[in-house]
Amino acid sequence: MLKAAVEDHGEVTDEDRKHAAEVSGVPEAAVYGISTFYDDLLVRRGTRHVRVCTGTACFAATGGAHVDAICEGLGLAPGERRADGSVSLAHTVCLGFCHSSPAVRDGDLIDAGPDAPARAITGSCAEAAEPEWVSLLAEPVLTRPGDWSGLRRALTELGPEALLAEVEAATVRGRGGAGFPAGTKWKFTRAAKGDEKFIVANGDEGDPGSYIDKYLMEQNPALVLEGLALAGFAVGAKHGFVLTRSEYPRSKPVLEAAVEQARADGLLGDDILGSGFDFDITIVEGAGSYVVGEETALLACLQGLRGTVSARPPFPAERGVFGCPTVVNNTETLANMPFIALHGAHAYAELSPDSESNGSKLVCFNERFARPTVYEVPFGMSMRALCEEVAGGLRDGRSIKAVQIGGPLGGILPASKLDTAFDFDALAAEGCMVGHGSICAFDDHTDIRALTVHLLEFGADESCGKCFPCRIGLRRAHDMFAVDAPVNRERFEQLLETLELGSLCAHGSGMPAPLRSLLAHFPDEMGLA
């Protein structure tokens, strides 16, 4: 409702807030709090609302020059609107066009590439193309168009217990960052007391540099929906939600069309395929907040509240949507389930013969690479093979200085360590993680101090503000590097420890990982004292 107000007249007014409170039953004060939390509700919009991507791939492409160029060209600072109301400007992280950085959004039109900023200034943006995804597997799993064959088998041959047993045996580690086994979440939710249960697909892929879930939701929506239905069947839920990002304006309509199609085909709704299993799905779009990708914040957002993190326990498996037991799985995690339902845990493990990690993984590369797109790969390949053979190394004769893997909370691997294998355990040993699977290269021209400021600016801007270490600590860490003065290494490391050990969620406790990588591999370039 508040988003509709912004779309209608450019900003949220007190009249809008009062109206929203009256209609929803949410207290006025709470509505006010919500309206001051989300990016989409904060900036007063002009007739033309330009959003410039400040994600890590766009930083790697220009060092931030594209942001300065747009500010100068429009004569606006981010967050400002022209006095005549014609144009407004905002930051956004991230538009998921990391393959063609820098990216700019004008209204709902997303443009990308070296000339996109100039077009944004003159109001002549053109829709950017998205490269086709590629599977390295003989039989693609995640890039194969979803056909609901897994659900058919689950309903007719397996039953919920056998399906759950297969998913547990397959050890599907979560693909959204934390790597928690999905089968365990399903088991807890199935065992939890409650007549009503829910499945939530986390499509809030806020990790700058990652556009994997975007591809899944927009190019293979049926596979994601089938994964939700399988989760519902296994745990005894009748309803699922997909939370999409407003930074990906195409996701929600594409998923909604796929839901309609599935209903028409008898694959969603009541008594699916005559099995007696009822399951339906609602698509909800967020309003601009990175931390909403954290599961408790996601549930708050889904229920229309401020997207702040809650302490666990209680876990969503006990108390999630509307206080009911809830499975929250990443979009890609759910997209693995149709294969497991169809072929079983053993075949799933076989997909990555050279690794302890099971299944296949989608990875994506940033614009610095010669052939950036989403690739489906087995676990266990070396990072070098992925970067140099699969993605073709860097463009324009540049060389890799370092790569950040798995999003902003992922460690950074220097070029000297590219022989590390791409799987959960090998990356963890180097202070890195599979995370979301994004591989973002920084080339040999990258200024490490500027990169440090970039990472911390994101961290501080996106802190939900609930826990004290993250709320204050990330701002302090950013400010230490943002000024032109040497940074006291000992004090910085003490601050990192406070963030790591004290923070409530993975945002604050994860932000130190890439910074520790930089301290380990590029201390001389950070401007330390």
């Binding site: 004060a29 501080a460 503000g465 600590g473 601050l495 050990l501 004290g502």
Partner: protein
Amino acid sequence: MISVTVDGTELQVADGATILTAAKQAGRWVPTLCFDERQAPFGACRVCMVAVEGAPKPLPACTTPCRDGMVISTDDPVSRRVAVAVVELVLSELPAAPAPHTELAQVAGRLAVTGEPRWPGAVHQVKHDFRHPYLAFQHELCISCGRCVRACDEVQGAFALTATGRGFGANVTAGLDSGFEESTCVSCGACADTCPTDAITEITLLDGVERSEANGQRAI
């Protein structure tokens, strides 16, 4: 009942009791800022960190339930280091030291947080709202512990307060940022009672006189 050990003393606690409850029962002090026993635990301030045997890192005492056989150390050096750092960060965001009688000042004193902050920087902007006859708001003293909002929601049921903003810009406000008078506030004072920093205080007649003399905002 389950059995836990707190700082070497074994005791029985109720099923579902948190580590903080167990520590209190054992007579051990654990620093807290966002905790108020009249409210559901919130887990925001992160100063109640304690060590639990077998846990890889400190755990928040207020939101972690006890398990049978748990061995808890409330004065673990790593946990205490985190608590001290967090209190130091909190003090550094205030434009002036909190009044000595406030909970924040007392926790800082007991943890011996003194001297120049290790991580100085921006402080909250001074913003006062003295429009309400009994309740004064000094937004710059707010540390976003959420106690006032929860007191209003959970204890009084007036739903007049909300958290606002995010990140370092987080704060609290009444109604549509319109002050207590324009909100659903019933002047119960539960928010002022629980506030650990005096960001919200009850105005007494004497205060009013002093304040009107100091800045002319409200005359009695």
